[in-house]
Amino acid sequence: MVKQTAYNYDLIVIGSGAGGSVAASIAAKNGKRVAVIEAGMFGGESPNWGDVPIKALLHATQLYDEAKHGTRFGIRSAMLSYNYPSLINWKDLAIKRTGAGDNRKYYEQQGIDTFHGTAHFLSPNEISINRRHLSAKHFLIATGSHVVAPDIIGLESVKYLTPRSVHSLMRPPKKLLIIGGGTTGVELAQLMAIYGTKVYLVEIAARILPQEDEEVGVLMERILKERKGVTTLTQTRVISVVKDGVAKRVTFNRGDIEKSILVDEILVATGRRPMVDIGLENASVAYTAQGIDVNEYLQTSARHIFAAGDVLGHSSHTHTALTESRVAAHNILRKEKIKPNYSGTPRLTFTYPGIASVGLSEDDAMKRDLAINKAMAPLNMIARSNTSDFRDGFCKIITDKKGVILGATVVAPHAAEIIHELALAVRHGMTASELATTPHAFLSWSEVVRIAAAKLA
């Protein structure tokens, strides 16, 4: 056992992603001895494989796609094309510009010691990293999560893509089957379809984006089909995968009928599981396969060990992980503990049109048996829809019987920006009437929020 006075560090952060990096920086700025352990690339998922690269590619491909369909605006686009290696270079530049992508120096410049390897707890105050033992007074576990491949016969024997590895392809595949119709699957379906890939999107639930309200899934399925040629197979279970020459034959069951298709690549974008295999039992940290158990202050069952981010198993958003990292740092450094406030946290899907939601969905309200009012305003009611020639989308607001906004969903261009006034409303208990009477600029997409709120005022 390590003596209390002989700790190597005041804080060891396991994981250099969003859940760990902020806490490490705050602690270092407060004069603490801090070490960050990273098993993969420094910076974690978000800048290296997640948000930043995907959104950079989505931005570029969306520009290309809009220009391709710009004839109606008088834009000549017959000779328009894209250069895939250049797109990847752009993606790499976006990663590099974050300063955190695979950049160990980012932490070392802040006086934080860095170690590259897999951490494993040996005892409550000691970890092993590359056979070197480090001790600390406090720990923050921010190991994130990883994609879990579904149990499909033959899947392990064929090389399948993940959201992480899809960007290392030399060229877009001609035919791609995506297993998983959630946020990541739908984003990648749209991206690959813009490249010119024929995409099959398989989802076991009754609709794609099952965590959103029904209207969202129905609308996106139609948009993906009509505009991108994506074939969506809902209520479908993939049964087996086998190699068929250079291609892959996928057999699936839909409505009790078995069919098979030939594709070039398979992309698994199903659920994620927290990375908890780090010897937590040796540190007496309670956990399940769904994540580490923490109290309201993000403390684990070992009071000197905290956890933040995807490893908690309840959210996979970078902004949530950043918030939790700040809270964990505060609770490690100060006696008065604070709780993370998740109210008003937006959930985003970066498709075109974008999808953003906050608070309760209609499904959530029904499950809780809440008495609600709801109103929906289609995008084609606002002037911006006319000048941009884009009509597919809506704003949906849910309130309680007193008019207090409980949740909202926006499907529109720039939904990720529009949602923030609704996030503010949810967090501060504003009413639909207050929102409706607040001026919204003419020709802004946000006018759709005012119209939806006015229906409930």
Binding site: M1, G117, T118, H120, L122, S128, R131, E281, N282
Partner: protein, 95 residues
Amino acid sequence: MSDALIDIIKREGRRPSERFERSKLHASVYAACLSVQAPQGEAQRLADMICDIVAAWCATKPEVTSADLRRMAARHLEAFQPEAAYLYKHHKLVL
């Protein structure tokens, strides 16, 4: 796997590092299965399988504790021989 260094923490707090010995793990799992009257052939098969699983897991870790090995072995043994897994996990081998 035979090259992996395993840090064994004794209950008294002494920590000599030992090289992983598959035969030791195999013998203990085999004994656990025999303790619950499993046939010798099945005990052998289960011990082989558990050792393969634990070895594959250990290959991802430069260092683990003896408690980790025991937990991993017991977890996978439980799917096939729950009683043996219980005895193994709680050090209650009766031959």
